[in-house]
């Protein structure tokens, strides 16, 4: 006599999470699956109805789902592994957020590495907006973060998927004198184009940061042979006085305007090493609103020690930035994304929560 177990086998494993944002016909996005296991925790508040587009006042605006990515203890303890799989159906939109910096706690041995792996599959015309708080590795922490984004190739007239990902890391607990004093921080962001029919994958972008305290090649000759004397030669020396460093990755039609704005502002930066005429010029009287805004932002940038660059690369706009402190960087990112305005318009104000 055969016996069938009436319960589905449990598929959940520690630290694993699965999210499937599906499309209920005709066009209602629903979070079909949200599962997670300790120490990972996912919270999905009520989805947000965006106001209707002014040009089509009768059709309701898109429904935006939000997901908070949390861990017990507010971070990763040595040896923790979190593995999250996200799937976005065509035309759906997801906002990913965190609640405070992801803390990486001290590890007893550099070989015991905490890991966070996310694998996101974006169907054509879907959009992901991921503007989290920074990662904060404490002294003697070791962590490896890996985020893979698969963009399914659009067929016919369907627009491509859109992606906005912020990845930033801070020097640790500055108040406790921690300055890039962790063992290792590795962060990988990869974006792949996936041909659904053939299954062929092609790498579009790989952004790997490898911050190892003991990378030998970076030490000076004296330091390499006398490891005890290397404190100033370690990571902190490589970071050139910055307390936070980040990368913003933008792609797709939804973020086209935002990418354009970053490129425009980068082009408009004053030349480095040129004479700063505006300093001794009499107070400007007829600056346009844009110029006034720029001038204010530049003043802020100078005050916060913000250094940044933007580049258009293989269909992406890649922004790299550094600042003396997290708050300065936060202010800068919020200012840039906020003044352009499309993220709040397309995803709601909530998408900028971690930048507040």
């Amino acid at each position: 006599m055969s016996f069938t177990n009436p319960f589905l086998p449990s598929t959940s494993r520690p630290g694993h999470g699965t999210v499937h944002l599906a499309l209920l016909p005709p066009n209602t996005p629903v979070l079909q699956t949200v599962t997670y296991q300790y120490p990972l925790k996912l919270i999905a508040p009520e989805p947000l109805h965006l106001p209707a587009h002014p040009s089509h006042p009768t059709t309701p605006g898109p429904l935006i789902h939000t997901l908070f990515l949390l861990t017990y203890g507010g971070g990763l303890v040595a040896g923790d592994t979190i593995s999250l799989t996200l799937t976005l159906a065509p035309t759906t939109r997801l906002v990913l957020l965190t609640q405070g910096a992801t803390k990486i706690f001290k590890t007893p041995s550099p070989a015991l590495v905490s890991r966070q792996l996310t694998h996101t599959t974006l169907a054509p015309a879907s959009a992901l907006c991921y503007l989290p708080d920074p990662v904060q590795p404490f002294a003697d922490a070791a962590v490896s973060l890996s985020a893979i984004y698969d963009l399914e190739s659009p067929g016919g007239d369907t627009p491509a998927a859109s992606l906005c990902v912020l990845d930033w890391v801070s020097e640790g607990r500055r108040a406790r004198g921690e300055r890039w004093s962790f063992h290792a921080y590795r962060s990988r962001n990869e974006v792949w184009a996936v041909d659904v029919r053939t299954g062929r994958r092609r790498l579009l972008l790989r952004d790997n940061q490898v911050l190892d305290r003991w990378a030998t090649g970076t030490l000076s000759g004296r330091a390499a042979t006398h490891p005890a004397t290397t404190h100033s030669e370690e990571l902190a020396g490589r970071m050139d006085g910055l307390g936070v460093f980040g990368t913003l990755i933008l792609r797709g039609p939804v973020f086209e305007g935002l990418g354009e704005a970053f490129m425009r502002e980068f082009e408009a930066l004053p030349r480095i090493g040129g004479r700063k005429w505006e300093d001794d010029a009499p107070s400007p009287t007829k600056l346009s609103a844009l110029e006034a805004q720029r001038a204010a932002r530049r003043k802020q940038e100078a005050g916060d020690g913000v250094v940044w660059s933007a580049a258009r690369v293989r269909g992406f706009v890649l922004v790299k930035f550094g600042a003396r402190e997290v708050e300065g960087a936060r202010r800068w990112v919020r200012g840039m994304i906020g003044s352009e305005g499309s993220v709040a318009r397309e995803f709601g104000e909530g998408a900028l929560l971690c930048l507040k």
Partner: protein, 292 residues
């Protein structure tokens, strides 16, 4: 008395001539012994190595400072007369580390698996986040291809085939064909011809041992940066040769090659994040003498 004097004189002459003979014999002995028969051990590799390390090799490297110019603009000495030499040394160290961690794995991979050149070129392009660095890498990569085409190909085709490097040769030929048809690339992906993977492939065809190829890749970069420093008036020409000859640089290159020897290309990454900022902001300099 006279006869004794004469005797003395002739004795002394004899002693002198004997001593000279002894000295000649000794000299012959010492020069003969190490004059082992000339061993043509690996002069094919040596010759190729010399070709590639020649600063007259038209790679156009002189046009690039790899971020040095921008770095110096971001680190003006506080009294403007202070020496920039210490900050140059810091930059050289960080620049070599960056190049080794981002590009060297691609050199090694293209040498070891030449048939993957197209994927390596694409992945390297995907991993180069900054337009200025990409421009420098592609310009030099294409220049290397041109040198191969116009100068080396006819002399190395036969010998590489004979030495079992046909795979490398075929890969290079088909990659070149791809590049020529790049404008009509139907999948919308451009082939770029980055220096790092092509360096690996070319050195394999020229039969340079892998370790030497990797060492020379880093050495050439150091030489380019140092020569840029001379032209940017940071170092004097003798000082520059001194840096290039230094034990410190030798050990650094050796240890970087060691460290990256088994690094997979997927794990190649930026060890000095600010380097991307400096190189990327080169375009924002008020005045420039270099292309990167």
């Amino acid at each position: 008395m006279t006869s004794t004097n004469d005797d003395q004189q002739s004795l002394q002459n004899e002693i002198a001539s004997l001593e000279r003979k002894l000295r000649d014999a000794k000299a012959r002995l010492t020069t003969d012994a190490p004059l082992a028969p000339s061993t043509p051990a690996n002069d094919v590799a040596l010759h190729a190595l010399l070709l590639l390390s020649d600063s007259a090799l038209p790679l156009g490297s002189f046009a690039f400072s790899s971020g040095l110019e921008s770095y110096l603009a971001h680190h003006r000495p506080s009294p403007p007369t202070a020496s920039q030499v210490p900050s140059f040394h810091t930059f050289l160290r960080l620049s070599l580390s960056t190049l080794a961690s981002t590009a060297l794995p691609y050199v090694l991979a293209a040498y070891r698996e030449p048939e993957k050149i197209e994927t390596l070129d694409n992945d390297f392009d995907a991993s180069t986040p900054c337009t200025v660095a990409r421009r420098a890498s592609v310009t030099q990569g294409r220049a290397l291809l041109a040198i191969w085409d116009r100068s080396f190909r006819s002399h190395y085709t036969e010998s590489s085939k004979a030495n079992g490097h046909a795979v490398g040769l075929d890969s290079l030929t088909s990659f070149q064909a791809l590049i020529r048809s790049a404008s009509s690339a139907e999948d919308g992906f451009q082939r770029n011809a980055h220096l790092a993977p092509l360096w690996g492939l070319t050195t394999r065809i020229l039969q340079v041992p892998l370790h030497d190829a990797a060492y020379l890749f880093l050495f050439s970069h150091a030489r380019t940066v140092i020569s840029a420093a001379v032209r940017a008036s940071v170092l004097g020409p003798y000082q520059a040769q001194g840096v290039l000859a230094s034990q410190d640089l030798q050990e650094r290159i050796r240890s970087l090659v060691e460290e990256m020897w088994e690094r997979k290309v997927e794990d190649a990454g930026q060890t000095v994040p600010v380097m991307d900022l400096w190189v990327g902001r080169h375009e924002k300099l008020y005045s420039r003498i270099f292309n990167s």
